[in-house]
Amino acid sequence: MNHPAGIEGAVTNPTGIGASMRRKEDMRFLMGRGNYVADIKLPDMTAGVFVRSPHAHARIVSIDKKAALAMPGVVDVLTGEDLKTDGVGGLPCAWPVVGKGGAPTKEPAHPAIAQGKVRYVGDAVAFVIAESLAQARNAAEAVVVEYDVLPAVVGVLDAIKPGAVAVFDDIPDNVCVDWELGDKHATEAAFKKAAHIARISLVNNRLVGNPMEPRAAIGAFDRSRGQHTLYTTSQFPHIVKLLMGNFVLNIPQHKLRVVSPDVGGGFGVKQFHYAEEAVVTWAAKRLGRPVKWVCDRSEGFISDAHGRDHVTEAEMALDENGKFLALKVSTIANMGGYLSTFGPNIPTNLYGPLLAGVYTTPAIYCEVKAVFTNTVPVDAYRGAGRPEATFVLERLVDVAASELGIDKAEIRRRNMIPSNAYPYQTPVMMEYDSGDPGGCLTKALANADWNGFPARKAASAAKGKLRGIGLCTYVEACGLAPSRIAIRLGVRGGLFESAAVRVHPTGQVTVLMGSHNHGQGHETTFAQIVSERLSIPAENIEIVFGDTDKVQFGLGTYGSRSLAVGGSALWKATDKVIAKGKKIAAHMLEAADTDIEFADGMFSVAGTDRAKSFAEVALSAHFPVDYPLEILEPGLEEQAFYDPVNFTFPCGAHIAEVEIDPETGVVELLSYVCVDDIGTVINPMIVDGQITGGVVQGVGQALYEDCVYDPESGQLLSGSFMDYCMPRADHVPKVSVETHITKCTHNPLGSKGCGELGTIGSPATVINAVVDALSHLGVNHIDMPASPHRVWRVINEAGGAARVAQ
């Protein structure tokens, strides 16, 4: 039960809220007993392999299936034409946004298998099904596709050039949506009064999510009941059920079950409805046999939605004291070759409103062009829009501080929202309910020994190394999302969450959650909430998720929402269980239910020693002796749906220190300090893991990861781990995690969420440190990743070793 140092969490119950109990789910994973989609074997199951386009942009002249169909074991070969014949619809976009002047998002057709044209390397052109995977692979090589190769457009700046290749014939300018937020006139006016304007041009590098478990899907069809089942690696099985059933395959909701069992990491990559899910479900009915598809890593690189990929120009207007007067941001964001499920929402609604950060900047204007290119579709990846916004803002703040000669902590302090100003309405949509960013900053500066940096820099210099320190403060909007706001912002659905608490006659509890656990530790965290509320040990609580036939409608896991929204639904459901338990206890104790108190697992008559235990009440609920049936039903099972009234706003301060070898350009991350306000902590050990993992992922973006396409051919150049560098354990020091808590004011737990903040704060923190190390060379920005080659080139271009030595 040892807490990681610095993470707050009071413990009264060893498996209750605040306890660092070990994760209940880990034993099955550590012992290889997880049950992933790829582990599932159904009777008579076939194996499917996709034939994917080797071209970024081409017309499909013909597809000849004959040779493939004649191969041993081949059951069928399906193409986009077959989808058409069967009346299968395209993949829907679930969150289009409203552009300038009310212009709608352009949503071109997105067939599950390409029809007529391919639009990125990896676009599916055929699906080969055989008795075995090897046979399907062999036959896939025998499908003859004749392409008329077209010129491709890859980068966003190329896509918006006049005369650029059009990804869709009817969208000649490649612009999916041109979106804006904020008060343009007020911003322009503030810029006119500015004593100083800081400017930055930057690229937010494109990333591949690479969850440890590649995606997989199995379609099955039960002819006797006309029932479809899809097993899939999804973060939100109910949404897949709704989108696929309703928009793609026209399957009534009561005839479709979606199961998302153990899933090995998502990071957003698995929160979209993918083509492969629809294809295996459709094919299974056509064949009358289950069809399994398991993505391999190479295929994942060209078929999992990618993340980030922005090009941005930003300007900050400041007065002579370094007060921020206004911020102007113009971004071009890559959507890829089609719209993924949430594509247009990420660089708009999840980006622009975050540009206020933790500052009092009075005027902000942001415009974003989302554009199509001949690349894999781009969508949410851990942080989703918020790391991009934080990177722009926090890089710009550092540039302004350097130009004005103000200490980087000091300029942030001067502009920070004071803790007594909450709730705080920003000029860009959001009302922050609570926070104390100044308190986070103070702790972080102390933990990182900010003032001792000059001595450490001198020590590094004595070894011939360049040392830099970087600071970032951030806010994130998570706990997605209040439906009332999200629906206004374009989402085609609600964003509430559900929980059901089923109390068994013997007092143990099964909890059915709409949230989905794929590494976050929900089976532990949610059990701790129930343990705390009902005073039963976590070992007597089972958390069930990921099966639409078991779990009531739920929205799944993304946007750091599971605790703030799902946990709140669970809180509400336990409220209802306690309320019902009081009625039962009142009957058992022959008292008025208003006189019953519930504490420490006992329902007691206030002011007396007459009491019934939780287990006794549970038994009574299922063995109802003389119940007053007109006012008391038997049974003890309650369900709650929770729709938040606002986003939650974790915030914090991160500080990193790096050392650069000027001869090789290698950046070594020496230390990383986080102080975060995440609201109520349920399990400090899990929080430590979530924040550390997020930080490492953001360090990956800052220093290592880069998804690179050939700008001419549209071929993915970083298409394997030989070239795409994931961060490794020896790249990262022990991350120092500490909390500085203010509670969320609008949910019952007071929790804000912690899943994404690491990726939100760390790219800016690390790059600020790298730039700080190079600042004596006149460097004021470096693009990500700050790879050895790039850093060396920057040093070399800035005058090389001669100036380094000065």
């Binding site: 090897a134 692979r137 062999n138 090589e141 190479s298 001869e663 090789t664 350009g665 290592y704 880069d706 690179v708 150049l717 970083s718 781990f721 030989m722 070239d723 795409y724 560098c725 994931m726 790879s787 050895p788 080659h789 060396w792 080139r793 070399n796």
Partner: protein
Amino acid sequence: MLNFEYLRPSTVTEAGAMLGKMSEARPLAGGMTLIPAMKLRLAAPTALVDLAGVPELNGIKVDGKTVIVGAMTKHADVAASADVRRLIPALADLAGGIGDAQVRNKGTLGGSIANNDPAACYPAAVLALGATVTTNRRKIAADSFFTGMFETALEPGEIVTGVTFPVPAAAAYEKFRSPASRYALVGVFVAKTTGGVRVAVTGAATCVFRASAIESILAEKFSAEALASLRFPADGLNSDLHGDAQYRAQLVGVLTKRAVAKLS
């Protein structure tokens, strides 16, 4: 992976005969390159002749002023060998820095040099130490063994049986790992041998090569200071996502200085 025949000889002679019989057969050493290539269908041999069951190919022997490493000796065993650590510590260091623990416990010296990946570590040691490659047919001097990208002097059916490393007066290996693959973006092996100073560079070009200009500087004065004004030419060096030719040229210079500094 396509179907293939799997053969497991127990002697080199038997292995040679198996390879001789089938033109599309490939010898299998550690399989660290061949197996992934087969999985990706980039290689599709009709048969694999697995050398793991040939005891005479495995092991490390000291013979006078030489260390003889069997072709099937694993990197981890070279790294841990007391004899190698005592006589050619740079070779043990090199072996201990290849890939990751899994690779070091499967991958072999013979497999590495027969494959001659332009970014592999072992070719730099073999070349810089002036080693001799022994095959089932002949002995081949290191200087004529590595002939091009993934190319060697080996003939079809010829099997590397071991490498004889003369013990150098001093040697050091400096590797700059590609951040993603951990192969050598550039690796420089510097050795003071009875035949003079030899410097071999891997990762920088299409094939491991000797940096003769650096060798002559060091032959005159073996010190890092002697290399202070060294500007290694970028001509002919590799450019890729992780470093262009100029960067690799810079790394050749830096790593050579660091290797020499280790020995001074």
